[in-house]
Symmetry: C2
Subunit: 355 residues, 2 copies
DNA sequence: TTGTAGGCGTTATCAA
DNA sequence: TTGATAACGCCTACAA
């Protein structure tokens, strides 16, 4: 072993293989890519020599420089992976993207956009970026990244220059849910909101917090709710997790019956699931003592939340749309944003309030 | 607009910026990388010109060829993203990897290894690969990928030549759980196993299925259980999901009391959670009528499963270990595998069997 | 502090 | 069907 400690055995290059096989580099290249005419004999000789030399195929790094494509689509998340993936809705969207871009030989690169750290975004060899934005705060990164001239697609982000958005009619769907409760006769409702901004500050839904909020879907959903219940208040959580719903639910429900809301509008199914658990813990029946609605329509593994009244968003479909947009943009075709509409799904967690 | 339809505006290159700024390419490079001495004046001039030309910084693809590093670590999953991420244990491990490799400026590329499709693995510009193996079937891919000469790290995979494994004492931990039940007096136990192989065939735990099984942790856990209960049988599921646990649990429990197991050993917390739900549906109390143990110790969002008797595996820590191994290997240092040990965590889901 | 030269490993183009 | 040539865009010795 004469090579330096830790030195990885130098990989042979395509040129070396070509030389050993007695062909030109271009021919060897063709033998591997299959992108041109090569006699079977030559090809097998090249392949044999390659196997002999331990050549593992063309270096993807060189290939991507030459081709101008890396075959990588970046998915920009605003959170740690654990947090981002705790909500099945994000996973579903990611899956939708992969479903479309995968067959076109693209893989997904996970990028987390922590406070002001644009570097990673700029240094990643991605052909396009999908922003799991939701936050207007992404704006800063976007303006930097846009200069790279790669296709930018966002999912449920506020409108941004140069970014194609795959949206969702949050306002309309939220209004639908609120209207459903209103029609049932509910007049005292409370909202359990998603995180409102990067700080994930919790507390009451105050005008100040709303004004400072940056999380697009949360703000839009609240806006939709208030089209029906203009004064709807409630609590802000730290994010779409059952435990947060439980905490907020407990706080809202553990009060004298006269002050207790008769319905809770949770801004996600996960939050709703937590609220229902909180109600159960307090001995309140759903929908007898309390009506609960969610948002997302994800298949929760929790049987108790299975029959939640909610709106179903086509999460995988949204991901697919994002993937298609990426592919179109990459192909230099025109692509337009899409706005999906969630479908109201009545469940067994809502009923008229007790008389 | 004279450029072709759909043609993306040609990005200026570093050379173009240099020319426009009246400096050499190397100086411009230094201005961006900050890796050498450049006068402030020159640097700012270069940067200004770059901004002017709409140059978004060095092309990562070219950079990675030149540097021989892409800054990307591949995570190879055996399943669709939805399925893989449904189990929080996988997400936790991924998070652990990112936690270590991220600060070293590496991002994670998601690679799914669908049946025999090695291409993607070979074409991805990754510096290293982490195999979320669990299946001996990965062997085929591994032998192909090994030729690329990049560091290969697996998490809980069967021993493979040239692959560093971050393991887990599945046998020991499973025996601990079984012993716990045995000590309590249980003699009629059933196992709800993870998927045994790629086909995800369900049914009884038969010798044939076990012999044909490829999922390492499932087999190892069963082996551990059988050190205490040599004849333990049960059902094979399609994977670590609550719904699968529910299905298997129902099948095992919806029988005459005399045939019913007094304890169920679920091979994951998610499965255990489903089993508990099934028991509840059948009017059986846990741990009164049935004891249940899980495996993983993940923080399930389901409150009912919160106090599960289980073993806690240091999932994030395992991910971190994998990340550290990758970094070490990348640095050309020696690195060794690690075997983690799960910790028994008694909960309130186990008790002596009814007399 | 700046510039020159050369190459990282491929592949596209064209001619033979 | 094969081969020569020239980039792809950048970085790093080394020299000035």
């Amino acid at each position: 072993m004469s090579r330096a400690e830790g030195d990885v055995a130098a990989r042979p290059t395509l040129a070396a293989v070509a030389r050993a096989a007695g062909v030109s580099a271009s021919t060897a290249s063709l033998a591997f890519s299959g992108a041109g005419p090569v006699s079977d004999e030559t090809r097998s000789r090249v392949l044999a020599v390659a196997a002999d030399l331990g050549y593992g195929g063309p270096d993807p790094r060189a290939r991507s420089l030459r081709r101008g494509r890396s075959g990588i689509v970046g998915a920009v998340l605003e959170d740690t992976l654990s947090n981002a993936f705790r909500d099945p809705i994000n996973v579903a969207m990611l899956d939708g993207i992969a479903d479309v871009t995968g067959p076109a030989d693209n893989s997904l690169l996970l990028l987390t956009e922590t406070e002001g750290e644009h570097t990673r975004l700029l240094d990643a060899p991605v052909d396009a970026l999908v922003l799991f934005g939701c936050s207007t705060r992404l704006d800063a990164s976007v303006s930097t990244v846009r200069r790279r001239g790669i296709p930018l697609v966002s999912i449920e982000a506020p409108p941004m220059e140069g970014v194609l958005d795959i949206g969702e009619d949050n306002v309309g769907a939220s209004r639908l849910l609120a209207q459903h409760l209103h029609d049932l006769g509910h007049r005292r409702v409370a909202v359990v909101a998603l995180e409102l901004g990067p700080g994930r500050e919790t507390g009451g839904i105050t005008d100040a917090r709303v004004a400072a909020g940056t999380t697009w879907p949360a703000l839009e959903r609240l806006r939709g709710t208030r089209l029906v219940y203009p004064d709807a208040g409630g609590l802000v959580t730290r994010g779409s997790w059952t435990s947060e719903g439980h905490r907020a639910g407990t706080q809202l429900l553990d009060v004298p019956a006269s002050e207790r809301p008769t319905a809770i509008i949770a801004q996600s199914d996960l939050l709703a699931s937590g609220v229902i658990a909180a109600a159960a813990d307090l001995g309140l029946s759903v929908p007898g003592d309390l009506s609960v609605v969610g948002y997302d329509g994800v298949r929760l593994d929790d049987p108790r939340a299975a029959d939640l009244t909610t709106v179903v968003q086509p999460a995988v479909e949204k991901g697919r749309a994002a993937g298609r947009a990426v592919l179109a943009l990459l192909a230099g075709e025109a692509a337009t944003g899409t706005i999906f509409t969630s479908v109201f799904r009545p469940g067994s967690t809502t009923a008229p309030p007790r008389a």
